[in-house]
């Protein structure tokens, strides 16, 4: 098979000592950057570009790609241990991951995160290797109506993030959607809700908002009592340090879910890993036998989003390498790197430089293995952070939140935003307003509104365009079904009650 012989060529490139070394450096650096909130792989890659000019180009792309997908492994660590998302794609992991840590299962959460990342990451590379060109062509068929339908499907997931009160979830969703409107309108260049601040013209920084709502609010909640809230149970014994066989069985669908959704959404330019992780989480909850347990520490709730953000890395490379189209920030800087080294990324890149593409693909298999081998033994080490006494841990969390958020744009304004969101998150926790719904609105709001307005521009104002196109009609139908699910369930429950009543 052609792919096989190409892959062997790739491995012959990837397994040279120097490429192995730089792959290792890349994935380790990526993991570190992923763990630290704020600093992201895009900025790190940009910083390292000058160094790469002196390297062989294949080595350079292997190293930089390592940073890219390595960061997706690391992001979950602080999400699980401290309720602080290390990367925007790890926000969904906070939902169940942190709860698992509170239940004494931090080790299992970290472990399943690494395993899911490995499985989905490898599937992503497989996909990149085998179906890039047809997938890229399929992804091109996605126009604004399809994006709108996909985002609506994502919003429909709010039904599953509702917890006890649907009304409160909807209110938070609306607040999240509103926050997403802050800034300069893309189409008319008018500014919305910027309160006269030039710094808000770009909108609210996502990292500032999420670190505030999750991490800072968590610290504030714990500081209510002197004993510092419930002390996080430190995992003891090997059973709690790693996922059990039962855990792995429970996550079977989550692995599949994360891989497929992550890879596919990653191939859509402009969608992003954060969207992929939330969609995967929502789907997992939708098909689960115990959806009400999501949000209290369910292991599939960690495996699905963590897998998704790793498969997304593979998917994001599809349009980049087959068409020269960058899907997001990090792939844009990778594109910049390729251009800097003298390549001209486009449809002919793979044909003209097979050793670059196949070397990269092979190195990604290697990189995923390296990351699994690195991350699993580190689980008990990371879990020890929980041993820190509260009076060290809380200043640490606040400090790293400040520094992390500051490092995104070198902006104290962002830090203020984080503090504000911290207060908001605290109030929301006290009153049981679900933060996840707000974040969902914030994540999806931008793309949703944009896609709707673009669609209406395409159809000259007719909403029919959303249902006449096959893909978007299908997705919207699924969203409708999801929205009706709670009602259907309730009707069924009434019926069961009625039957029991009669008998």
């Amino acid at each position: 098979m052609d792919a096989l012989s190409n892959l062997l060529l790739g491995f012959s490139v990837a397994l040279t000592p120097i490429n192995l070394f730089w792959c290792f450096v890349g994935v380790v650096l990526g993991t570190v950057v992923g763990v630290l909130p704020g600093l992201g792989p895009a900025a790190t890659i940009a910083m390292l570009l000058p160094i790469t000019l002196k390297m062989d180009h294949t080595t350079a792309i292997i190293a930089l790609a390592g940073i890219f997908y390595g960061a997706r492994y690391g992001g979950s660590t602080t999400s699980i241990l401290l309720n602080m998302p290390g990367e925007s794609s790890s926000v969904a992991t906070c939902l169940d991951g942190y709860q698992m840590a509170r239940n004494g299962r931090a080790g299992a959460a970290l472990g399943i995160s690494a395993i899911a990342s490995f499985i989905a990451g490898t599937v992503g590379v497989l996909g990149l290797m085998l179906i890039s060109p047809p997938l890229a062509r399929f992804a091109l068929r996605f126009a604004p109506p399809e994006y709108f339908a996909l985002m609506t499907l994502g919003l429909a997931m709010v039904v599953f993030l509702a917890g006890d009160s649907m009304v409160k979830a909807l209110l938070m969703l609306l607040v999240g959607l509103w926050i997403a409107t802050i800034g300069t309108d893309l189409f008319t260049a008018e500014s919305r809700f910027t309160f006269g601040q030039a710094k808000l013209l770009g909108g609210v920084d996502f990292i500032a908002a999420t670190v505030g709502i999750f991490a800072v609010a968590e610290v504030l909640i714990n500081l209510e009592s002197r004993s510092g809230g419930e002390v996080l149970k430190i995992p003891s014994g090997v059973k709690n340090l790693l996922p059990t066989l039962q855990d792995l069985k429970d996550c079977r669908f989550a692995f599949l879910n994360g891989s497929v959704i992550g890879f596919f959404v990653g191939a859509l330019p402009g969608a992003g890993a954060t969207v992929a992780s939330f969609l995967s989480y929502g789907l997992e909850k939708a098909v689960s036998r115990h959806p009400e347990k999501f949000g209290t520490g369910v292991i599939e709730g960690v495996a699905a989003p963590e897998g998704a953000n790793n498969a997304d890395a593979g998917g994001a490379l599809v349009p980049l390498l087959t068409l020269g189209i960058p899907g997001g920030n990090t792939t844009a800087i990778l594109l910049g790197g390729l251009i800097l080294w003298g390549y001209r990324p486009g449809p002919l890149l793979i044909q003209e430089h097979p050793e670059l593409f196949w070397g990269l693909v092979a190195s990604m298999y290697v990189g995923n293995v390296l990351l699994l081998v690195l991350n699993l033994p580190l689980v008990p080490l990371f879990a020890q952070i929980l041993r820190l006494p509260n009076y060290v841990l809380y200043p640490f969390i606040l400090g790293i939140s400040v520094v992390g958020v500051y490092s995104v744009n070198n902006s104290l304004f962002d830090v203020w935003m984080m503090a504000l969101f911290g207060l908001l998150g605290y109030l929301m926790r006290k009153l049981d307003f679900p933060a996840a719904a707000l974040i969902l609105g914030l994540v999806l709001g931008d793309v949703l509104e944009r896609a709707l307005r673009q669609s209406l521009m395409m159809s000259q104002g007719s909403l029919a365009i959303l249902v006449t196109r096959p893909i978007s009609a299908t997705l919207l139908f699924i969203a409708l079904v999801l929205l009706c699910l709670p009602a259907i369930r309730r009707v069924r429950a009434w019926r069961v009650e009625a039957v029991e009543h009669e008998s």
Partner: protein, 327 residues
Amino acid sequence: MKRTRYSLLLIMVVIGALVSSRAWSQEFKPNKQIETVVHTGPGGGSDIFARAIAEMLQKEKLVTQRLQVVNKPGGGPAVAMSYLAEKKGETHTVGFYTGVWVTNPLTTVEATVTVKDLTPIVRLVLEPAVIAVKADSPYKNMKDFIEAAKKNPKQLAQSGGTITSRDNLMRLLLQKTTGAQWNFISFPSGGERLAYLLGGHGQMMVIEPQEAGEQIRAGNLRVIASLTEKRLASLPNVPTIKEQGIDVPLIPQARGMLAPPAVPKEVVAYWEGVFDAFVKTPSWKQYVEQNQFEDASLKGSALSKFFDSLTDQMREVLKEAGAKVVR
């Protein structure tokens, strides 16, 4: 006694004159990292441009200190511009501008800082644009496209940036000159715009030749006109828009460097010297050729005049476009 006093005074005056003249002619040399502000995130057009320039300056040993790129995205250039305005008098801070630094303050109330408030140093290139369509589309030249647009008013679509971006302004000028009408759909990133065209949803794009280059080479896109005065060296068979009979004013996309307000003359002189030498280097010439830019160095009063005339031109074009002009 008096003589000693006089000679003492004389010596002091001479020393004073020597010292102060040295102070006046004291040259500026950077002694720490130079903060280089760009208005895009990492990977964006300005970011890549700034990093490339920084790299070449270092390679050609024209600057001894590192140019550290600092990303200040938000509201187009507004956040970056207001950040620079706050750094009054800072000798070790510079910014890389593009045309949008001139147009954005004209339409956005909160963008209170204009290019004239900052200290322009140099203009480096003008980025040309071309009109591209899908290779399998029926439009072989502008005439085909304009005719099709006239037959189906507001049916054809162009993907581009915001409505104040060059893409749309060119579209409005073209529509006015030819009488044809077609839609404009905004996308935030170049990748999405290209995907829209390649996916067959849109019919044409105003795009920079280097962005389209590979798609052309692979046979996916066809360039039907270049929006330049003269034909592009890389596309010698593509007639300019004027050659095709459509006389439309061309909007230049300029890129260059500027500094915060109230920066001492010596600093400007230093950078002017650096770039005078820089544009003669082979790495720069190669870079310009690879990216299909137009080498267009400009500095000093000519640069100020350029900004003034560009601002006026943009104001007129925006008003015609129906955008709300606030300055």
